[in-house]
Amino acid sequence: MEMAAKEIFKEKTNKALGVNPDDARLTLTYFSLAFIVLFIGGTLGLLQGLNRAGLLELPAWFNYYQVLTAHGILLILIFTALFMVGYFYAAMSHTLGGLIPSVRKMGWTALGLMLIGTAMVVITIVMDEATVLYTFYPPMQASPWFYIGLVFIVLGVWAATLGVFTNAAIWKKRNKGQHLPLLSFFAVGAFLLLFLGSIGVTIEVLMLIPWAFGWTETVNVMLSRTLFWSFGHTLVNVWYFTAISAWYVIVPRIIGGRLFSDTLARVVVILLVILNVPGGFHHQIVDPGFTEGLKFMHVFMSLSIAFPSLMTAFAMFAVFERTGRKEGAKGLLGWVKKLPWGDVRFLAPMIAMIAFIPAGAGGIAQTNNQLNQVVHNSLWVTGHFHLTVGTTVVLTFFGIMYWLIPYLTKRELTPKINKLGIIQTITWTVGMLFMSGAMHLVGLLGSPRRTSYTTYGDNATALSWDPYLFFLAIGGTLLFIGVVLMVYIVFHLMFKAPKGNTEFPIAEPEDDASTTPKWTERWGLWVVLAIAVISMGYLVPIVDLVVNAPPGSPPFRTW
């Protein structure tokens, strides 16, 4: 009774006050920039796909590897970072009753830092001074300004992180004894993981800057590589983290259901934070310099990330079934028909979830030693992350746009845009099916990733890959159409859609749900555990790489 009264009160205040316009402006600025970046990155992706299939020759002044570097950094680093900050700041603003003014300032500062960083990175890439790809492995040496740009991007991310922590801490102080609302809890977890994951790469970049200026002569190649991967894969899981926050909290509400379990969702958040960072080591399974025993331990550490994902898979389908049955579905799979397939706010994240079944299975496969050796650095890997990030994460992001932008701009999603959204979602799905499918298959046959069009002197084996690469190009073209549609939809919802009231959909717990235990809020303990797990994974190899290092490498510029 008391709960219900409180809910009514909250609803009333939200209706009276609505969204805070200052907070809405912050998030909408982030989203505008994110989708401009998506458009540029998507265009570059199309150029790459066409080149890789041998259908298009890129000019020397803007070559394949430059395009690839820009595509990777713009989409993996910038688009996702902008989206994540915009989304979680809106989530905090809604669930915590508005952002605290100092936090809003941190949000703007973060944006400024990220934009300065992005500008430096993009300029050096366009000038062909930093054609080193998203991984920027030394001893390939980019312009020092490229690395300094990366530092600014990280500082921006950290400023946003500080804002999230500050807002959560102040809310906790003002609301003693209450649990942080679930969506804000996700925000804290995701930014904590992002922070923990970015420490290693920051150390790496700070070592590369003096080397790039010529102040130090050589660089420790394997140490840099290891520090990079402590970040490189964690980052991907941060975006996944962002996506599942919407699966747990938003999607149940959209289909007219309730939360599966508040406690379980929080446990998943905690596990993702604790287990994730050492997961990147599986990128180094076929590297020299590490013993088989160490690599085997890391197979285990990588696989452990699958555990919270298995919990998520169960929770999501349990929500679907439970909701369907409440509406009178019968039989084993009758609930499938009860789901709102014609609602793009549901369809996009649902396809994202379905895509995660093969995507996650592929991830588990390539984590293991021998299977990794088969697919390492082949196009399979590129196919894998276009399925995980490009489909699972990005389709969920798209799905969020259909209600979050109208909510922020006080507009409505019209049936027409809903229909266009469904067309967009299907175009994207089919495009990914072609592109990622072709990449997986041709990768198994040995076609390498990160390579421009080549037949290796008309080698028979390499020529047999061509049909697959053709499908890759078709998929890439469909995806580009998908990008154009999505960018149109986002800006239409921002400026053109009719005025109206759109809800921020937050699912409530079931009436008979058990209360969430207090220990879920013990962040100090989770941080200590996370550091323990990170140390378990990285202390031995990093100390060994530092103490027992080979003579360093001088810089090379091979492009």
Partner: protein, 155 residues
């Protein structure tokens, strides 16, 4: 926290599969000697040409039906680039890089390893089928990366 009974079964099955895959991987690695390439030897990356065995790259018969290929990788090629070995022979590739990071992959086989400056990498393969195999670099190494390939002839 109370878990639903079906959820318990699901998680037990899931974790069971993960553990099983660990057991298989561990058995292959430690009992069958099929571990990933993990050489821990080091070298000065600026003195590759004067350090044995890389001062004399080539194909060497080191035992009965056993060959060693001493190889250096550099932008954008493999030395030696003419490799011939008989079918059924056990071939060990001993490699290092003279400049940036390269990848060593033989298409159609499980031979796949990173070759990093400062480190020596070894990988062993037995080619049962005669034919010509494509060797390529699968880590971006610069503007000519797509040209970095050679072949190995198994007779």
């Amino acid at each position: 926290m109370k878990l639903h009974r079906y959820e318990e079964i699901w998680l037990i099955l899931g974790v069971g599969i993960l553990v099983l895959s660990m057991v298989v991987t561990g058995y292959q690695t430690f009992a069958q000697g099929l571990g990933p390439p993990s050489d821990t030897d080091q070298i000065d990356p600026q003195k590759v040409d004067e350090t044995a065995p890389f001062d004399n790259p080539g194909v060497f018969e080191v035992g009965e039906n056993e060959y060693e290929v001493v190889m250096t990788l550099q932008a954008f090629g493999f030395t030696p680039n003419e490799i011939e070995v008989p079918a059924g022979a056990e071939v060990t590739f001993t490699m290092t890089s003279k400049d940036v990071i390269h990848g060593f992959q033989i298409a159609g086989t499980n031979v796949n390893a990173m070759v990093v400056p400062g480190h020596i990498q070894t990988i062993t393969e037995t080619f049962d089928e005669p034919g010509q195999y494509l060797i390529l670099c699968n880590e971006y190494c610069g503007a000519g990366h797509q040209m970095m390939s050679t072949t190995i002839t198994v007779y």
